[in-house]
Subunit: 339 residues, 2 copies
């Protein structure tokens, strides 16, 4: 997983890893329109609120969901003005979930930027997240039909469902891979899925291409989350902007831990459970040797690779195009990035 980030912060023009370069030149202009649309949508009649609302959009960083909307549109048909709206909506919904996640996790920074709860307070964060949700739904409803509202409403509900299941499975140390994947599908993959699906549907794509791109987004999102799990244990905290072992601190079950538990002997299993039930701060250092001695690291890599392959496989339904090529590069980048 050798990756160097070369993107400019504001426009995300380039993602580079050892095996893939994702240059977003093809959608540079619409991405800039999305940026200005975002700023415009988050200007309040009440001046005091504008800096609070706009702060949230600085936390997203990668603008991956808008890029997926625009690339799916290009790969499956003709992009229109509607895609700018949809891409803006997707980034706002994503930001809303980040702002609320930062309250849930009591996080102080995200990508080296202070969170809304750190800069103001958690009351402000809850309300800013709600504002972003509400405004994004309003914006989706300015399109000509209810399709985007339906799909986005449903996707947002699934994200919450995944997060609720995650919160309520924190003490479930016997979470198996199947349930883990089903939680991740909701929590992370669903918004990537609907970004691709909407991009294709609003470009007038035939239904089999809409489905193929939805499946691509889903597999990509899962690959991305597994890579996140990996980076939480074996990443470079300077590059990810996150402290190593954050998931362990918060007792979130991740794929490496699930694998470790599933492959350990009964005694070792007991020992791991004791560590996980013990003081949060010492979990990482106590588990590291056990993780190293197991196949958890290579297994996690392999599973991320399998989902990236599945994403690539979904793309074969589409005719070749520069946008399709970039979507392939994205799938490779997802698992090889360092941030």
């Amino acid at each position: 997983m050798d990756t160097v980030m070369k993107s400019e912060k504001s426009t995300s023009t380039l993602f580079r890893s050892a095996q893939a370069v994702v240059s977003l030149d093809l959608i540079q202009q619409p991405l800039q329109l999305v940026e200005s649309r975002l700023r415009r949508e988050l200007r309040s009649r009440f001046e005091m609120l504008t800096p609070i609302l706009q702060h949230g959009t600085m936390l997203g960083g990668k603008r991956m969901r808008p890029a997926l909307v625009l690339l799916a549109a290009n790969a499956a048909g003709e992009p229109t003005d509607d895609h700018i709206t949809i891409a803006t909506v997707m980034e706002m919904v994503h930001t809303a979930t980040l702002v609320h996640d930062d309250v849930l996790d009591a996080a102080a920074t995200r990508r080296h930027v202070p969170t809304v709860n750190a800069k103001w307070d958690s009351q402000t964060s809850i309300l800013v997240g709600d504002y972003l949700f509400a405004q994004s739904f309003y914006l989706a409803a300015t399109l000509k039909d209810t399709l985007a509202c339906q799909w986005i409403g449903e996707a947002a509900r699934r994200v919450c469902e995944g997060e609720l299941r995650q919160v309520h499975s924190r003490d479930e140390l016997d979470l198996n891979e199947e349930n883990y994947l089903s939680i991740v599908q909701g929590k992370t993959a669903e918004l990537c899925r609907v970004a691709c699906r909407l991009g294709a549907a609003y470009a007038g794509a035939p239904s089999e291409h809409v489905t193929a791109l939805a499946e691509y987004g889903d597999a990509l999102g899962i690959a991305f989350q597994i890579a996140d799990d990996y980076l939480d244990l074996w990443g470079d905290s300077e590059r990810t902007g996150k402290t190593l072992g954050t998931d362990l601190l918060q007792a979130k079950m991740t794929l490496p831990m699930i694998r470790l538990l599933e492959t350990s002997s009964p005694q070792q299993h007991q020992q791991i459970i004791q560590i996980l039930r013990g003081p949060a701060e010492s979990r990482l250092s106590q588990l590291q040797p056990l993780l190293q001695a197991s196949d958890a690291r290579s297994y996690t890599k392999d599973r991320a690779q399998a989902f990236a392959d599945q994403a690539l496989q979904s793309l074969t339904a589409l005719p070749d195009s520069p946008a399709k090529q970039l979507l392939s590069d994205f799938a490779r980048f997802a698992i090889e990035r360092r941030f």
Copy 2:
């Protein structure tokens, strides 16, 4: 403000006060359809989540917004199945705001029922509120056009705007009545306004009737909030289900306090500010004699009355009907209730 609550908890069939009886017999059947729709919409594929999701709907109590949707429809035209959907959506959005409010206020009970944050935790509450928002927008998007999504999205954004302004004006002890009313319009009146407006619009009412009912809902909501401010100081905590002086504890500026500050001498003003900046627990007992010596109590009653009158005035644009009569009763009930 002499009121006796006679409504049944589950169906809210009757609101009775000294001067008004609001019997909901006219809309009893559609209100029951809304109840079962609510329960259905909040059943998750994941069994563990259903009790958490449904708990929220027990906190709402009055079902006032569904009643407004249905009465506006009856007063302005023909109610349809769409009104059941809209009424359900309005109650879900309202519940979402209550669940998040209870986190903001760290409230342990609401109407004698433990809050989601008390029964589970604030992480669960944040996610349940988000789930309710998302699912309500999805449901609104199952209607034939985007109108409901647009208006509800916009209304929800204004609610958040009002709440954000309230949070950020907590230390503004010089909040004037104009700004107070503008915050209340967003925070409380907006959902009543949009409930009436959607009820009328989806009943095929002419635009002047839609506007009249929107204005009715707006004035009603403001009257309701001023009555809430009143009840926080001079209500019966057994009946309201809230501890007296909760707003003072949380440093929320209410109309009686604004009036007291605006009419006090410079020395008294100083004294009040000191009390408000002092320990939260002693604010109520220290301020009570000052409030009694001022006209804050009668002024607050008069202002609530003025908004109730404004609501009644808006109704004159509509032809007489049993539903219109009930809407008038509601306006009287709003300011005379004790809960």
